[in-house]
Symmetry: C2
Subunit: 721 residues, 2 copies
Amino acid sequence: MQKELLDKIMKPKSIAVVGASTKEHTIGSDIMKRLQEYKFNGKIYPVNPKGGIIEGLQAYTNVNEIPGEVDLAIIVVNAKFVLDTIDQCNQKGIKGLCIITAGFKETGKEGAELEKQLLEKVRSYGMRCVGPNCLGVVNTLPEISMDGCFAESLPERGHIGFVSQSGALGGGILNILKDLNLGFAQFISIGNQADVNAETALEYWENDDDVQQILLYMESIQNPANFRKLASRITKKKPVLALKAGRSAAGASAASSHTGSLAGADKAANALLNQSGVIREYSLKNLFATAKVFANCPIPKGDRVAIITNSGGPGIMATDAVCEYGMQMAKISDATKEKLRSFLPSAASVKNPIDMIASAPIEHYKQTLETVIADENVDMIMVIYLPFLGLKDIDVAKAVMEIKKQYPQKPVIGVFMTKSEFFTALSDMDVNMPFFMYAEEAADGFNRLNQQRLWQNRPEGKIPCYDVDRAKAADIIRQSICEGRAQLTTRESIDVLDAYGIRVCKSGFATNIDEVVTVGNSIGYPVVMKMTSKTTSHKTDVGGVRVNIQSEEQLRAEYNDLIAKLTEKGLIDGLEGVIIQEMVKGNREMVCGIATDPQYGPMMMFGLGGVFIEVMKDVTFRIAPLTDIDAEEMIKSVKAYKLLEGARGTTPAQMGQIQETLLRLSQLVNDFKFIDELDINPLLISEKTGEGIAVDGRIKVRLEEAKSALADCCTCGSATC
Amino acid sequence: MQKELLDKIMKPKSIAVVGASTKEHTIGSDIMKRLQEYKFNGKIYPVNPKGGIIEGLQAYTNVNEIPGEVDLAIIVVNAKFVLDTIDQCNQKGIKGLCIITAGFKETGKEGAELEKQLLEKVRSYGMRCVGPNCLGVVNTLPEISMDGCFAESLPERGHIGFVSQSGALGGGILNILKDLNLGFAQFISIGNQADVNAETALEYWENDDDVQQILLYMESIQNPANFRKLASRITKKKPVLALKAGRSAAGASAASSHTGSLAGADKAANALLNQSGVIREYSLKNLFATAKVFANCPIPKGDRVAIITNSGGPGIMATDAVCEYGMQMAKISDATKEKLRSFLPSAASVKNPIDMIASAPIEHYKQTLETVIADENVDMIMVIYLPFLGLKDIDVAKAVMEIKKQYPQKPVIGVFMTKSEFFTALSDMDVNMPFFMYAEEAADGFNRLNQQRLWQNRPEGKIPCYDVDRAKAADIIRQSICEGRAQLTTRESIDVLDAYGIRVCKSGFATNIDEVVTVGNSIGYPVVMKMTSKTTSHKTDVGGVRVNIQSEEQLRAEYNDLIAKLTEKGLIDGLEGVIIQEMVKGNREMVCGIATDPQYGPMMMFGLGGVFIEVMKDVTFRIAPLTDIDAEEMIKSVKAYKLLEGARGTTPAQMGQIQETLLRLSQLVNDFKFIDELDINPLLISEKTGEGIAVDGRIKVRLEEAKSALADCCTCGSATC
């Protein structure tokens, strides 16, 4: 990550503004102004070929004329001069660049070529670079105090690290930070993210205590695997919230498999964020509301919520919202209730929600909160206030914050249904808890705190490595691609699954009575026998399907009977042989599979299969490879989990075995990265044993990729891991 | 409804405040103050036993001393004096009461008794009464100008009719109306709703042009059937939005049937609001956001949305939100595109979302909106603005509103991601379109407008009346209740369904070969034959179930074979007979039924049945009786509809016949209101014909109710309708 290099950009001691200008309302002028208005704590060197004085400072005609050292060059020159500027920066020994200039990849092919050259230079000079086509960078740490953006407003100080892929949006947000009662520690407008991207920022901020939560606005994720690696680690240390836009554009994938048609890029993004512990928000409004909660609340110890109110209606609405998130309404202890009764009027309710009634004075707010916050059955508290009887909202808020200060370990959120003046007044104060207008917003906040708590307590998980017959699988696939078939036959697909230790429906082919018996005995009874014939397509009509064969003896009899009947009917000539199949009984059909997202790579699917698959869409996705925890969560997250548990008197499924099936599939696609689609449909749950058994399977590979991969290796039979 | 009486309350020419007071911060003082501050356009008579001057007006010791006529008495005296006060009001000829006084039903049994007496007096005197235990009433119409509430803030003028069951909440809302940029036409705090309730208000406002939309905050619905009747009619004329609180309190119903356990009070409320065309909101925030949209937008002609923006990111987020609601992104016509290209810079995008890029001046906002709003492919427009380059937000808003004014028929919503000062400034202006901070809020708004459009275009629907054998059904039920059985047997249940013309699985009982043949022939082949025996419970083990019997001949053979086998095994003595059943083939199992909600009455259910019913919960509810449109919508609203349509090569279901099944059930429960639960599970979809066939059924009645109902009538065999 080269922290030292990134420090040059985010914590510079000196900045050159290349393209600084005296012309009003230009970026070159605005950047100079913001740097000075925000009182950058270091040297600022304007650079302009005309020299002169810019914003009261001596301008240099070239970075190489600057007398002192330069950490960061903010570049706003025309796109055609950018490459030369980078060369000059290199001569000067500048390692940090922030290229605001637009006219690169975003404009088309020529711009993309220019950006490629830009990146090559940056790499070869050992520099790091933010942009191009961005708004700039911000660090509000007092010893840095850098506003290197050309937005209208100066940043507010706070502890959010914010990355925006949209410069305009970043500017819009800087404008409203104060109204939102939020502040940034650092802000990086990554623009075209030629070099520095969201992943760079995540890693850079991982151990920076000034950045207490990270917010991402993304339209794409550059390297999903790397993002996952970093984010899963960092989310354990601090909340990471993401707004991923472009959901609808993804649209339905045109892939032919079930797994594929149910997937689609947004499902992939969703799976990735979910697996990485990133809290996904779907609107800016919610993104900021959640940020406000994390900025002012500790992570709670549990999910038990107490509600304190002076008005019944909002108390009921708050209860609804808390319950709908699956959190618990705290059971107030008897001791707490007794204490509450000692000072609240008799008309008050001391059960949760605690209704102090409209006449509650400030003293009741203080005493009630103090009493409830000390209750061990309570993890989070919502304090609702509606203005009555001349009580001043801001006084109530101050009283509540005073109590809250003594209990830093429990989240408290205020719901003050009052005039906007109250919220304006708050934005000028130092608050120790978030305040919202509506109860539902507070419930949203508790839900996010609880989500972060659950994630932080979630075990890391391991990607297991099973002993599999990789060479055999490779051979089967090679056979198919040698014949130019991207799509393996059912037989081949099943055999590949079998080679990877996935429980498949056992079967074999036989052409005479001895083979029939051998196959039958090796499978174990009961079995099903099906004829295969070149001339008779309606097998059942001629008695060609025999089910529930219980023994070798019965198998012999059925086979002989079949031969006799076919002979009798003159159909014996077409007979190729019979398929002997394990007889699996069960009416629970699941599905699992792999789909490949062009951007996110292989994705695992699991859910309800059979006729319901497309209708109910009760399926879930995760990016491969899976950890054991991922696999477990996949199984538990579908509604059909209840069926697996053994609803309505069915045999409980072997959860561990199904989990292993998913993990083995994950290993398979990790070993053969050219597998494009894989479906096991159905994965039948045996009524007898509860095993998940692959009754049907199909595998499709990317032909060219498979050819080169299998040419390189894999005949060797080398171990997977 | 007695409009004239309600006019006395909501449009009074004179008001007596009984319990007016000179003591600060009392309700008796505050009401007097508000009436005067808001400049009530009529006479105000303070009434207080001590007389004197109150708020500058001569107080009377009793309403009967008041010299002029009095339309409305606002009563704030202690609860124990309320009944006497009502007597006095009657002597004075006052017909309108607003009883603010608390201490009635909400306090327990004694209070409830007092409220009962209060209501008796009100009824016997021919009065109408708002309250008790309420905040008061408001009418902002300039010729009335009444603020009869004791809230902190005066109301804002607007065209919303608002009913609140929570007085505190009503007060809270009055406080923030200005910030919300909303205004009330009338407000009724219904309190304990002893007399006037939400239904009264709905009907009263139905033809009041000053009330252009109706907002309801409800914790309960007093008379669901009446509410439905009124709301379904009024929602066709103006939007009705409801926030129904107490969802979670409802909890899971303890009912024993499938239908019952999936129901629950909130599902009933949801069904009722849905069927009545009421727009349900789940948070106050959304309630007001939607109200702001209806206050400033016409109902659109379609669902095609165009987005105009000066910033890509928010444009993408807006597109996501629009698509997720299932609305369409408008296809901008070529002519429009060409026109846009003529003045927008080349870097701009003229495809929807139309990105004018960050440099867009006010002139581009005007020209672009003017061009796009005239496009026939566009029904609604979102205009997004992020502040750049010193453009003033309020100037942009004014320019946009200027264009909007010329196209009153198309909804336009502004998304201005800017400082709160902008919104504060707006709240002092006369706006002709709503403005929000975030794109998602605008998309929410379009969705609500579209929902109202769809509802207004929805056919009324009819409750059909089928020719059924009501007398036979009554006889069957009577038989059961005579034996003290609330739960009918399967046989009886199926027979009741059959009497109502519901397609049931045909079957009959036979004890000898002649009966067997008769029954078999009457059902038609193929049939299934099942033995019933008192001694042999495992029918299949002894060959007691014979399926797919194709003819009379085969039926004879199978029966004789069964008798022979049982005789042989010595099991013939226990044999009671055989059930001959129509053989229905099909693997699509639906469910339909009836559950009774204690408050909302009988509710119809329809959805996916079989083993999936509890797991997938793919079911929908409607309050009975159903209209044909209700039944059609029920069928179409479940995910399993795709199965019915014939997914994966199955026979398409007979939708009309299934719809009729629901309507006949609805008629059944309407005829026999004491039916508590009814389940048809499964309603099997025949693979052969696509019919829905009731294979199993169970009916449970409320015994006492059924006894008295069936004693009164129904032996008569009278027609249903």
